[in-house]
């Protein structure tokens, strides 16, 4: 319901919900499949760098990870609300004394946890690079931070698209479309008039991720990703409050 008191937005119940979501991931094959696919693809491009290019660097790993995230995130978020709506369990969930914001937040946190665990596995590449070469610490930090921020925004938007339909495949496609558009925007700049170029550039993932991967932590980039995250979470909880069936 929309009339929730501010004080109850975060309560102890959120951890029960969060643990439930994590269990749902790891009890099904979703977590293992998406993690494996991500690590295989990222690993492939990383090894290519080392053996073909002969460079011990994480640069192409970070660049390709952005693209993989465009597929990975929708796969992680598609079930979050669509499944609960399809099975009817949402009907029970919202009659427990939890707020819509709590439901959305706990699901987002669970998706972010899965994403963070996956990224933690790529520390193997980081250690390899440290042993073989001399990576730029700022760029590595910025690169990981960029992926986490993009993940946060992507999971929030994916959560919203998952609230739009009972069909997980539709939820996946919708989330993929949104993320792909944000991913592609800065590649289309040359086709756009200069007047809107700056705006389009600002809206794209790439522009901000490039900034971060240079090791420059600018508040504008942080603001961009956190605004998208808040927007996605707000839209999702709004959708939840707007239920009629």
């Amino acid at each position: 319901m929309s009339n929730q008191t501010v004080t109850s937005i975060v309560s102890g119940n959120i951890w029960a919900l969060y643990r439930k979501e994590l269990k749902a991931y790891f009890n099904s094959s979703i977590a293992y499949v998406v993690m494996t696919v991500f690590l295989l693809m990222a690993g492939w491009f990383f090894t290519l760098d080392i053996f073909l290019v002969g460079q011990a660097t994480l640069r192409s790993f970070f660049e390709v990870s952005r693209l993989i995230f465009v597929f990975f995130i929708p796969a992680v978020t598609m079930r979050l609300l669509a499944e609960e709506m399809a099975s009817g369990s949402l009907e029970l969930l919202v009659t427990y004394p939890v707020t819509d914001v709590e439901i959305v937040l706990s699901k987002w946190l669970a998706a972010m946890t899965l994403l963070t665990i996956t990224l933690a596995f790529t520390f193997v590449y980081l250690f390899t690079v440290i042993i073989l070469g001399n990576p730029d610490e700022g760029a590595v930090f910025g690169g990981y931070l960029g992926l986490l921020l993009m993940g946060g925004a992507g999971c929030a938007l994916g959560l919203f698209t998952s609230s739009l339909t009972r069909n997980q495949v539709v939820a996946f496609v919708l989330a993929f479309t949104v993320l792909f558009a944000l991913f592609m925007l800065d590649n289309l700049l040359m086709f756009m008039p200069a007047s809107i170029g700056a705006l389009v550039e600002y809206l794209s993932f790439g522009y901000h991720l490039d900034n971060l991967s240079r090791g420059v932590i600018d508040s504008r980039d942080l603001l961009y990703f956190s605004s998208l995250t808040v927007l996605g979470l707000a839209l999702a909880s709004d959708r939840l409050a707007d239920r009629r069936e």
């Binding site: 319901m1 009339n3 643990r19 009817g88 029970l92 009659t95 239920r243 009629r244």
Partner: protein, 323 residues
């Protein structure tokens, strides 16, 4: 405890609930009766704060579902129609999850989970995943999750649908048990269920409230007449004479011969609703020396009422008593 005031719910252009008002007292067991799609589930979803009414208001325990949904939900146990539990969790874990999400104190939660396992008979399935359970066990887990926080108000949507007769009997026993202490609302389209479990019935049809009262009260209110079946054994007995004699008994309005069956001469009588003519009929038969073999007063069942109210009013008026 509950007061529903002129509640209307409209969605996607459909009028699901149309201006319904009723009250429920503390400790009452109320049955919602109606054909599929009549608005029972919609009404329950509004009572459980799943969705707000389009207009009108619902007050539960002095609080409105519009403004105090969270407080109301704290003290409410709900079991939706298709028992949508989390399939991937083992039963024990699921009960603890519900306890946590309800914010129970850990010690109290352990105690309540133990009690629920006992009350709902879940000892044998504690470590099985919910998805593996039979329909009956699934329903019992559903009841356990609705009751774990010891709520004052319990709402069950079609709690016995899809169960076999033994399971239905078990669930009904449980409902009886809770219904003694709690306010309980259940919906069903199975009529004997209401007669077996409820203090009061509300019949809903096409979104409108069409009847409200105790099951037996409804029966006599809707039927101006009671039916009496009477049968005499043997030969040397004049059917026409008997029919005429029976017409003179106080309270009897009409006598109809139903022919003979298994050696019995059968009649169906209509009697005024406040008079029990059985004693007079027996005395009359004894005086005349007619061997009375069968005498039975039929109260009209909820089934009759239900059909009258939901199959179309015109038909009921046409075939009903002209009182």
């Amino acid at each position: 405890m509950i007061s529903v005031e002129r509640m209307t719910k409209r969605y996607d252009g459909i009028l699901a609930v149309d201006d319904i008002s009723f009250e429920v007292q503390q400790g009452e067991v109320l049955g919602f009766l109606g054909p599929n799609g009549a608005g029972k589930t919609t009404t329950m979803k509004i009572l459980t704060c799943y969705m707000p009414p389009t207009s009108g208001n619902v007050i539960i325990g002095g609080k409105s579902v519009m403004q105090h949904s969270l407080e109301i939900r704290q003290n409410l146990g709900y079991l939706p129609e298709d028992t949508p539990l989390y399939n991937f969790m083992p039963v024990l874990e699921y009960l603890h999850f519900v306890g946590q999400i309800r914010g129970l104190d850990p010690a109290y939660q352990r105690k309540r989970v133990g009690e629920m396992i006992e009350v709902c008979g879940l000892e044998d399935v504690l470590h099985r995943d919910v998805r593996e359970l039979s329909r009956g066990y699934r329903q019992r887990v559903g009841l356990a999750q609705a009751l774990i926080h010891d709520p004052d108000l319990i709402i069950l949507d079609e709690p016995t649908s899809g169960l076999d007769p033994n399971q239905i009997a078990q669930i009904r026993t449980m409902i009886h048990e809770f219904g003694r202490k709690k306010t309980l609302i259940l919906s069903t389209h199975i009529l004997p269920e209401v007669q077996a479990t409820c203090d009061r019935v509300i019949i809903i049809n096409r979104g409108r409230l069409v009847a409200d009262g105790r099951p037996d009260e409804l029966a006599s209110r809707l039927h101006g007449f009671q039916k009496v079946r009477i049968g005499f054994a043997g030969e040397g007995f004049n059917a026409a004479e008997a029919a005429a004699a029976m017409r003179t008994v106080a309270g009897i309005c009409s006598v109809e011969s139903c022919g003979t069956e298994a050696g019995l001469e059968l009649f169906e009588l209509e009697a005024e609703k406040d008079i029990d003519p059985r004693l007079d009929l027996f005395r009359m038969a004894a005086e005349k020396g007619w061997p009375l073999a069968e005498l039975h007063l039929e109260r009209s069942t909820l089934e009759d009422i239900f059909r009258e109210l939901t199959v179309g009013v015109e038909q009921a008026v046409a075939t009903g008593p002209a009182s």
